[in-house]
């Protein structure tokens, strides 16, 4: 009985602010809700079991990666695996770092990521501004054409771009890793939508005051759409970090390759009798920055992703 009363109390606090309920007469509905809640208990337990089971499945690979990277090879090969390393060794990390040349590849990746993000942001902001605020002939037609190209799979472009950069003599340079991907129609679209939400009166007022376009862009539009710009920055950096196919095609030395290539090329064999603890250490090193970014900038990533729906 006391349970029931408590439940009904909870329900009342839950329904606060639910205007529809209040209109309909809250007492009857509370009664219904209370009876429903008792049956709900068992359902709740099942729900939590299901959700926690999924969470374990999601987290298990990360857990396995970390503990395997801390094991000795002998311990890893035990036929009855240990769920926590008996002796924790960090030597795998040092070995992975030198074997995959991760230091150099890390610097390359950061360089390519930073330069391409900055240039890409400049281009995206200018284009989005032109589409959102300026009037010129053919604007809508041009924008429609740009959107249409988004439907075409990137692999179709890669065949020709591979030849183009060959003719341009860009093979084995940083240029080849940066320039072909500077324009993203999707980011332009995203930012244009954001810019259009900023009232046009602000722009006209700025015009009356004689503010130049660029100043207006810098002082008003960029600060107001900062969350979108941060989302774009993170996704672009993650894109550089995770890119594999293109760098693999157009570069052939560690001098220009990116970190994912180094990881895959250093450990060609991922099955059979290979030194998995070292591999897992390398994987952990490559994954760590992504987790840090996720930890601190989760909000922007999730916002950017739910609006854009693209993978890095």
């Amino acid at each position: 009985m006391s349970d029931k009363i408590e439940n009904s109390k909870n329900v009342t606090s839950e329904t606060k602010g639910d205007s529809a309920i209040r209109v309909m007469g809250s007492r009857d509905i509370n009664k219904l809700r209370t009876s429903a809640k008792i049956g709900k208990g068992a359902g709740m337990v099942l729900t939590y079991i299901f959700l926690i089971f999924i969470a374990v499945v999601v987290l298990f690979p990360f857990y396995w990666m970390i503990i395997s990277s801390l094991k000795t090879l002998d311990e890893y090969k035990l036929s009855v695996p240990t769920l926590f390393p008996e002796t924790i060794v960090f030597g795998n990390y040092a070995e992975a770092f030198t074997q995959a040349n991760l230091g150099r590849l890390f610097l390359n990746t950061v360089y390519v990521g930073l330069v391409s993000t900055i240039l890409s942001l400049v281009i995206t902001v200018l284009s989005a501004f032109a589409f959102a605020r300026l009037e010129f002939k053919g604007k809508n037609a041009l924008f429609a054409v740009l959107l249409a190209t988004m439907m075409i799979p990137g692999e179709l472009f890669t065949i020709t771009n591979y030849q183009t950069v060959f003719y341009l003599n860009w093979m084995n340079t940083f240029t080849v890793l940066i320039v072909p991907f500077l324009v993203s129609v999707f980011y332009i679209y995203l930012l244009k939508q954001n810019f259009m939400q900023i009232p046009n009166e602000l722009y006209l007022a700025a015009k009356v005051d004689g503010t130049s376009d660029l100043k207006y862009l810098w002082r008003v539009m960029i600060p107001l759409s900062l969350p979108t710009l941060i989302s774009i920055t993170i996704l672009k950096m993650m894109g550089a970090w995770n890119s594999y196919v293109w760098p693999n095609l157009v570069t052939d030395s560690d001098e220009y390759r990116l970190i994912t290539n180094g990881l895959r090329n250093a450990f060609v064999e991922s099955t059979g009798d290979v030194n998995i603890p070292v591999q897992m250490a390398a994987v952990a090193i490559v994954s760590a920055p992504l987790f840090l970014v996720f930890l601190f900038l989760r909000k922007y990533i999730m916002k950017g992703v739910s609006r854009s729906g693209i993978k890095g």
Binding site: D18, P61, S127, F136, P153, G272, V283, R298
Partner: protein, 334 residues
């Protein structure tokens, strides 16, 4: 009012209009200036490839190196015929479609279940949401290697005659608790369907975060009145799910299914993550090759075939998207 005053007014008006006109003209010009870098890059790296791919695909037996040395090609559809009749391509197409057909429905339904459950709880909700999103921010090559390690056998019984299993891999160890004999998932001599199972498992694991995020976002914006009405009628839970939740979420479901299929047809790097550049277990390379993998195989020579394959891929994605849009238009609530 004197005539001179009127003329003065008219003159001033004309001057103003002129000024305004030049301003408009300047605006015209300015728009293109702002767009110049974007358009220049798009012309080179998007526009030209579209034209060139079409040109290469419809020149019989096109090869860039031969073209440079001055060979002319006849126009025709030989490349397409060659690609379609080549058995390797059929395998690629089969693998790609199979992985799509397995992973898209399972991951969508699972994501829907998870999202509904997450939406019904308060305690731990945000924490679990964060955990579920974690696979999204990973590198598909790197985590593919972790999955390979989890399914990998060390010193397999299949490698040599006298070799014994040293470690069957953590997945086999877990299955062993339930009395399942160790299965050769991805090592030398492994079966095709075992490989497909591992790939599907990894792809679903990887696809869940995005789908959960979108579906949960949709659920949170659903009007609570529908559920209260269902409660008054004491509608059973599964009926609420099928008659209220799914119809109200149908636009988001359509969206994740379409993006899922598009991503699925471009499957490539998750396979490289688990099996390496060979795209198959040791001793059977390219067994799990996909459409995209096929295109990359022909990027160095006989680009006509790569172009034809890329156009076929585009055609498939286009048709599947259109079918999805058509079905979802009929079925979606809005």
């Amino acid at each position: 009012m004197s005539v001179s005053k009127l003329t003065l007014k008219r003159d001033r008006f004309e001057a103003k209009t002129k000024q305004f006109r030049t301003k408009i003209k300047f605006d015209q010009w300015k728009g293109w200036v702002y767009l110049a870098p974007c358009i220049a890059l798009l012309l080179v790296f998007t526009g030209w490839p579209i034209v060139n791919t079409l040109a290469m695909a419809f020149q019989n037996g096109y090869d860039t190196m031969e073209w440079i040395s001055g060979i002319d090609f006849t126009i025709g559809i030989d490349n397409f015929l060659k690609v379609i009749s080549y058995s390797g391509f059929k395998d690629c197409l089969f693998n790609t479609i199979l992985l799509c057909v397995i992973t898209v429905p399972i991951s969508t339904i699972l994501a829907l279940l998870i999202a509904v459950c997450l939406n019904s709880i308060k305690f731990l909700s945000r924490f679990l949401q964060t955990i579920y999103f974690l696979p999204y921010v990973t590198n598909s090559i790197a985590i593919g290697m972790v999955f390979a390690a989890m399914f990998n056998m060390v010193g397999t019984a299949f490698g040599g005659q006298n070799e014994l299993i040293q470690s069957a891999g953590i997945i086999n160890n877990i299955l062993g608790i339930f009395g399942v004999e160790p299965i050769n998932w991805i090592n030398e001599g492994s079966g095709y369907w075992e490989n497909i199972f591992v790939m599907s498992f990894y792809i679903i694991w990887n696809a869940l975060p995005f789908k959960i995020l979108i579906l949960l976002g949709g659920l949170q914006s659903v009007n609570k009145q529908y559920y209260d009405a269902a409660k008054i009628d004491s509608t059973p839970k599964w009926r609420v799910f099928t008659k209220i939740t799914v119809p109200l979420l149908s636009p988001m479901i359509a969206y994740v299914v379409i993006t899922g299929f598009i991503g699925g047809f471009k499957e490539y790097s998750s396979i490289v993550g688990i099996f390496g550049d060979d795209m198959g277990p040791t001793g059977d390379p390219r067994r799990l090759n996909t459409m995209v993998g096929y295109i990359y195989n022909f990027i160095d020579e006989r680009q006509g075939q790569a172009s034809a394959a890329a156009l076929i891929l585009f055609g498939i994605i286009f048709i599947v998207t259109m079918i999805n849009l058509y079905v979802s238009k009929k079925k979606t609530h809005f």
